[in-house]
Amino acid sequence: MSSLTMGNRFGQNTSVQSSSNRPNTLTSGHRACQGCGEGLAARCAIDAAFTAAKGKIAVVNATGCLEVVSCSFPDNSWNVPWIHSLFGNTAAVASGVAAAFKNKGQTDVRVIAQGGDGGTTDIGMGCLSGMFDRNDDVLYICYDNQAYMNTGVQRSSATPALARTATTMPNSQYNGSDPETGKNVPDIAMAHGIPYVAVASVGNIHDLERKVAKAINIRGAKYIQIHCPCPLGWGFPTAETIRIARLALKSGMYPLFEAENGVLVGSTPIEDQIPVEEYLRVQKRFAHLFGKNAMPEDIGILQKIANRNIEKYRLGGM
């Protein structure tokens, strides 16, 4: 079957996830919501890392959904050495872990830090930047579900323009998250000149696994940001998680690319670009853009963002 599926009974282009002996670093019984994109992304990423590092990894986890659902006494879903310290210090804790293993001569143990977008792009930014600055041998993975989901869907600096959150409620004067705000952390990471920066998505697991495996084999600081749709926070049926992620990719709203030493070296081209509307319309967080009070130019704002992504990250091909 010539397909883009996760596995393939003919053994072509198979993923770590499709392997019957995949490590399942994040095992069953975790308390993530039905259809959680972040939990899935975490298993995919850490399984890929585990496989690439031949089982020698250690994971540092920021406070947030992932941490709460995966390790709450007495239930630990992790099958790897794992530590949760705080919300904003994850990168620094990981730096410490990496320093310890380096000093023990165990540089084969690959250190991963992970957190949500709030823990990464907001409160964790200082420690993250420090880790980049020192070029510590850590892979930082940001599971980007574009708001503070653990606390009830508040805006983060990764919340997209015009999205509704509990702190950017649209009303007659406001239209979701202000389009003039937000920060692009992959770009910030690139500006540090670290060896590797990549953006991935649960909508393309093959690509995600490849990027994680690549990062694991690079010494120094690495940053991977993964788009993880959140059924609860974004407002879509739990079965649609992957589809939503795919629509984000196809519309240009979430550009997949990778950069080495601050320079863009590759991107995943969009074959048939879809209008952003197709991506937005299926999510309740953008419902106000389609309601009776909607302004037609709103979609245009987001379409412009998508178009700029396509141009900037050369999604039309390098």
Partner: protein, 535 residues
Amino acid sequence: MSKPFATVVEPKTSLNNKTGSWRTVRPEYVHRLPPCNVTCPAGENIQQWLSLAQEGKFFEAWQEMVKNNPFPATMGRVCYHTCEKVCNRGQYDGSVNINLIERSIGDMAIAKGWSFEKSNAHSDKKVLIVGSGPSGLTAAYFLKKFGYNVDLFESHKYLGGMMRYGVPKYRLPRHVLDAEIKRIQDSGVNIICNKKVENLKDELVNYDAVYLAIGASVASSVNIDVESKAIVMSAIDLFQKMEDDSNDLPNLGKSVVVYGGGNTAIDAARTALRLGAEDVKIVYRRTINNMPAHETEIQDALSEGIEILCLRTISSINGKKVILDKMDYDEENGILSRSGKNEMIVADSVIFAIGQAVECSFLQGIEGISVSEKGLIDVDNCMMTGLKGVFAGGDAILGKRTVTHAIGYGKKAAKCIDAFLQGRDYVPNSKNEVANFKKLNTEYYKKDERKEVSRLGNLDFEEKDVSYSNNEIIQEAMRCFSCGNCFHCDNCYSYCPDNAIIKHEDGTLEINYDYCKGCGICASECPCGAIKMTV
């Protein structure tokens, strides 16, 4: 040293937390019917043999084909492959070339001399089959497989019925047909040619059941004034003459008119070309879109230079003059009426291909067997006539008349007879839901165009060799979406956020309801619609 209480936890302890209790909807692996299988008149499990072909298991693929149809090489040529019309891939990037794969594997079987698996079933009961067309031979094949003693009587000199007398050689080379018939013969069916059943009642004494697969081999009569110097004959007569007396091919002259719009008309017209005619016209009363002939056949005919005169009927033939009535056709209401205008064309020969009737005079007076107004044998749902133990099928009963349908009737008849002989009622298998296009997630199929091959050859009676190479078979078979049936893509296993799908060593998958929260991602991301969410 002891670890801290509660803040430090051993790995994987969450396995004790059975999150399956969260579930309100439940995924289940299902087998939905692929549209190709559903539409196949012969009931072939096309998807299954495509799957085997994908793996290069051609013998196994052929074995799968002959589970339902003993004529793969023949079908690969003459079947009008409704399967491809409904193939979901048609809505994506072109249907799978099922027909050509079937032909290629069917040919491979002949070339390699593959034979049917020996059946171990045995019964003392005897069944008589009347007629060696696709329906009769298929019934014979299955009944033999079921273990019965099967006699088959054929009134003609040669076996094959309409496969031989209705399909020209250039479409179905006789060595192919002969080989596939011989295979059935070799399976132990006792076949007697040139044996016409005159008195059914006499035969009934010797058999536990009879299957009347007598076909529709008599040209329908027409009410046209013929005062002709031209050759006027029916297509069926033409074909029969060519088969039974192949050394003396008829000369139809330079210009030939064929009257009719079905596949037989096309075959007759194309045969006329091959017999030396230069100007061949098909006269058909409705529009070209209404022609019952298969679209590809019409295209082939047009490509070969045959002219199709639509909205015309032949009103009379006078000498070499053929007078045509021009017709009006109300497409919306399907009402055909004479326009009152005439037209005259010239023909050396006129061939009628306006239908065939069943020769069932020998059934007259047999108690229980009734013949309808249209001249077709009446049967019940189990294909049995009013006379217990006597079954009928194929072109002789009401239904579609294609070789593929005939094979389907033959198979069904065999099953009905089997059930009858065992004293049961025949109950067809219940059918699963159909996996239509909406049930698929086509994101996972790479665009990959259908490998098309033109079958149009020279204007002679040789068939053009268009079979796929082994590699091409595999490549084209790979295009199958596997609609409605798991093809082990592992999407469900890979995407389940809760690891609630178990992949066994052999690749089979199982849902672990202890942990499945019922999110439905597995079903959404199943490319082929093989997972169903149920309440």
